[in-house]
């Protein structure tokens, strides 16, 4: 057992400050455990989101010592506990209270994306056949747990909130890539990705990829191919039609 001092952000939209809490840390504990200790023993009303405590739901995103991560998957032993540890809410979204932010931006963005539009069943029994290698591309994107850490670090909206109405962000590019590369999907979202998605704002800094807890290659596998599709469509319509029809690039 070791003692550690946490500096936890307490406050709401009107402002706030970091408050020190000193707690005991048990073997194997993660940051979320220690935050729960503070809650149970010193600050009962400390607001924090969590659900699974197993890295599966993407609820517990925060900035620990300035680093955006999942609190439930960050062991205390990976931090220098001789120094105070700062725990702050993710920055890009409006603060509700303490460690909880208003992430409705992401839900609104998702609701704008043109829905999955499947082709007719391609097997005699009225169901679909797909090969493993064809689903694997999409499966990578579908690992996304919607922690919104990628949205949080993307400078396009982190440093320029005024871009929010014109930019859906990396999480939604992952979703769009998944739909566009879905073996059964028939819709064309290129215009949407360009115009509403605002993908041109992305200058491929890869900050989003670096923080993704699911190790999704957001830039290389989702954003760049989407950018290429747009370039192809607007500058090389024949190649685009070919790739849409055959599923090959």
């Amino acid at each position: 057992m070791a003692q550690v001092t946490l500096q936890v952000f307490r406050g709401d939209a009107n402002g706030g400050e970091f408050v020190d809490y000193t707690v005991e840390v048990d073997e194997g504990q993660v940051v979320l455990d220690v935050v729960h200790t503070v809650q149970a023993t010193q600050a009962a009303d400390l607001a924090v989101r969590w659900n699974c405590k197993a890295g599966k739901c993407g609820s517990c995103s925060a900035e620990v010592n300035g680093k955006p991560l999942l609190m439930c998957m960050t062991r205390m032993s990976t931090l220098d506990v001789s120094q105070p540890i700062s725990i702050a809410p993710i920055k890009t979204f409006p603060l509700i209270r303490d460690l909880v932010t208003d992430v409705s931006f992401n839900y609104e963005a998702a609701s704008q994306i043109p829905a999955f539009a499947p082709c007719a069943p391609n097997a005699d029994d009225g169901t679909y056949r797909m090969m493993q290698q064809d689903v694997e591309r999409g499966q990578e994107f579908r690992k996304c747990i919607e922690c919104f850490l990628c949205q949080n670090v993307c400078h396009v909206i982190r440093d320029h909130p005024e871009n929010k109405p014109n930019f859906l962000g990396p999480r939604q590019f992952v979703h769009l890539a998944e739909l566009e590369m879905h073996p059964l999907d028939t819709a064309d979202r290129t215009e949407f990705i360009r115009k509403t998605g605002g993908i041109a704002y992305c200058n491929i800094t890869k900050c989003c990829t670096e923080v993704c807890p699911e190790s999704i290659h957001i830039t290389d596998n989702a954003i760049i191919p989407l950018k290429e599709r747009i370039a192809d469509k607007y500058y090389d319509p024949f190649r685009w039609i070919f790739s849409k029809l055959t599923g090959r690039d």
Binding site: G28, A40, D45, A47, N51, A54, I96
Partner: protein
């Protein structure tokens, strides 16, 4: 009190896991004005954590599989105490529901010929679980969430329902609060579908999220509906045991489905010693046969590592008690010696990740340490099998908070299929009921105000009992006294403690303001948590036998006479909990023969 925000719908669905989402999609498709209300953000419900897969007799791997075999496995897994009609509907309809998920965008793992891949799981005769690696629940919730979002269903997130209200004997709506602001909200609704999940947070070691406080169970109970089978609690045999902070986090049965074996400190595959007579005929007797079974399920019998969960959990407890456990009080689960590292990483990516990150263990090189963890609540709201209707007009229930489908023990994979099969049916049931009702029942303002004053009262208790301490004491009591192996005396003691905790909970104080205040939320959740804890303890005390997820040390045998009865709980006029024995529905002859034919 200020005017309370009020909304009007035909159907409100409480809970946005697999069951709630599927119910809302269906109710809305039928033309009912539908709202979906959930305590967490959309997409974060418990369903997101499901790992191993969804059971459906599609016969993609073994064409011998069909609904009859699935039905039989489910009934036997539940020690014949399940509702036969629910088990039948479930087995018949789950393949369609899985194909439907695919048509809505889900990308399941594939067989060589491009069909949906299926994996082996405990208690299932054939490879039956459609899956996506070990993140099937995420695939399912995201598919349903994205489908629902485009259907124009109104979603109320981080909004907790605290009470259902009635107009006469039928439902008129619900009252709750926004977690973000602490403001109250009322819903006028003709029908309510409860899809709130389970009760695991009443136990110390569990695999469940904070939301599992038995709210749907309690909402139904307080409104006069019946609960059944509350004594049956599933302790999953394989939760993490070390380090202490992760104790209880689930290790999917998929590890054993993929070939992982349980061993004790002598390196012995101990499950061969624990094959009960009930399953002897269908279980491998030698390690050789068990290992052959993974590749050829037609000519070999199932490995005892994949006996139903109640059997395996009890065996692990016995091994640990006999001093043959692992260093931290579990047993070993070994996949490392059974497959090459890259295969393990591909088939079980999140298990690999989970152990690496949380326990510093590389499961491709070393065995895991595992032990039982409270995982699933078999008991729930008593429902009409075909429609999901509870015993109070206007209440419907589906998913983990509904009872009957799984009997005394649930088979792995049968929950995800249960969610979509009965979620859909409850959606239809609720929409038909609501649309047939004509006028909107009256939501009385006085009733609404009574609920909000009760919720408000926690603030008057400032400086009162710490709600976290009460929950912690409840978890210890349930774990020690109504846990995996129980006795009558222990259960009595638990009931005494629950009564004390109830008194303390009434004095639980919320500190701070109303906006996003977890101490206030927990103080209110304690009421449902204590209600379901009492229900489980009472039913467990009454059932003087051992069966499935209910093991009595003082009544170790399974008693055929008890096999004819469910235990049903409802609220008596004086507010006390009333317990009744109700006869099990009798299976029609053509289904009963399925059990005679089986070897």
């Amino acid at each position: 009190m200020a005017e309370i925000q009020t909304h009007e719908y035909d159907v409100i669905v409480v809970g946005a896991g697999g069951a709630g989402l599927r119910a809302a999609i269906e109710a809305s498709a039928m033309g009912a004005r539908t709202a979906l209300v959930c305590k967490s953000l959309l997409g974060k419900a418990h369903t997101v954590m499901a790992e191993g897969g969804i059971a459906a007799a599609m016969g993609n791997v073994y064409s011998e599989d069909n609904w009859q075999v699935h039905f039989r496995d489910t009934m036997r897994g539940g020690k014949m105490l399940g509702n036969w009609r629910m088990a039948q509907i479930h087995a018949q309809e789950s393949p369609d529901r899985v194909h439907e998920l695919e048509a809505w965008g889900a990308l399941f793992d594939r067989t060589q010929d491009g069909r949906i891949q299926q994996r082996a799981f405990g208690g299932h005769r054939y490879d039956r679980l459609a899956h996506v690696g070990d993140r099937t629940g995420l695939e399912m919730i995201r598919t349903l969430q994205q489908h629902a979002v485009h259907k124009g269903i109104d979603v109320y997130m981080e909004c907790t329902i605290s009470r259902l209200l009635k107009d006469g004997d039928r439902i008129s709506g619900a009252v709750g609060y926004w977690r973000e602001s602490g403001e109250y909200v009322a819903f006028k609704a003709k029908a309510v579908v409860l899809a709130t999940g389970g009760t695991g947070k009443a136990f110390r070691i569990n695999s469940n999220s904070w939301e599992y406080t038995g709210d749907g169970h309690s909402l139904a109970y307080w409104a006069g509906a019946e609960l059944i089978d509350m004594e049956f609690i599933q302790f999953h045999p394989t939760g993490m045991v070390w380090p202490p902070s992760v104790r209880g986090i689930l290790v999917t049965e998929g590890v054993r489905g993929e070939g992982g074996i349980l061993t004790n400190s002598d390196g012995k595959r101990f499950m061969f010693e624990y094959i009960s007579d009930y399953f002897r005929a269908e279980t491998a007797e030698t390690e050789e046969e068990a290992d052959r079974w993974y590749g050829d399920k037609l000519n070999n019998r199932r490995t005892p590592d994949l006996l139903p969960r109640d059997e395996v959990a009890r065996a692990i407890v016995a091994e640990v008690k006999a001093g043959r456990g692992s260093p931290h009080g579990g047993v070993f689960l070994d996949i490392a010696s059974r497959h090459p590292a890259d295969y393990i990483k591909r088939a079980l990516p999140s298990m690999y990740h989970q152990f690496k990150q949380l326990a510093d263990i590389d499961i491709t090189a070393a065995p895991m340490e595992v032990g039982p963890t409270m995982h699933y609540t078999m008991g729930g709201v008593r429902v009409e099998p075909d429609t999901g209707a509870a015993t109070v007009p206007g209440i419907f229930a589906a998913g983990e908070c509904a009872g009957g489908m799984h009997g005394a023990n649930r088979l792995g994979g049968n929950s995800l299929s249960d969610l979509v099969v009965f979620g859909r049916r409850a959606g239809i049931g609720a929409a038909e009921y609501a649309l047939g009702l004509g006028s909107q029942p009256v939501l009385a303002e006085a009733d609404v105000n009574a609920v909000t004053s009760e919720l408000e009262a926690c603030f008057g208790n400032d400086g009162g009992e710490n709600p976290y301490a009460i929950q912690s004491d409840l978890q210890d009591a349930m774990h020690m006294l109504v846990g995996i192996i129980r006795t009558g005396a222990e259960i009595e003691e638990a009931l005494g403690k629950i009564a004390e905790l109830k008194a303390r909970a009434m004095k639980a104080g919320a500190t701070g303001g109303k906006a996003y205040n977890p101490s206030w939320h927990l103080a209110m959740d304690l009421r449902s948590l204590l209600t379901v804890a009492e229900a489980s303890a009472r039913a467990a005390g009454e059932r003087t036998e051992s069966r499935g997820g209910h093991t009595r040390n003082d009544y170790q045998e399974t008693d055929p006479e008890w096999g004819k009865w469910n235990l049903s709980l409802s609220q008596a006029a004086d507010g006390s909990m009333k317990l009744e024995k109700t006869p099990l529905a009798e299976m029609p002859a053509e289904l009963a023969t399925l059990f005679e034919e089986a070897k």
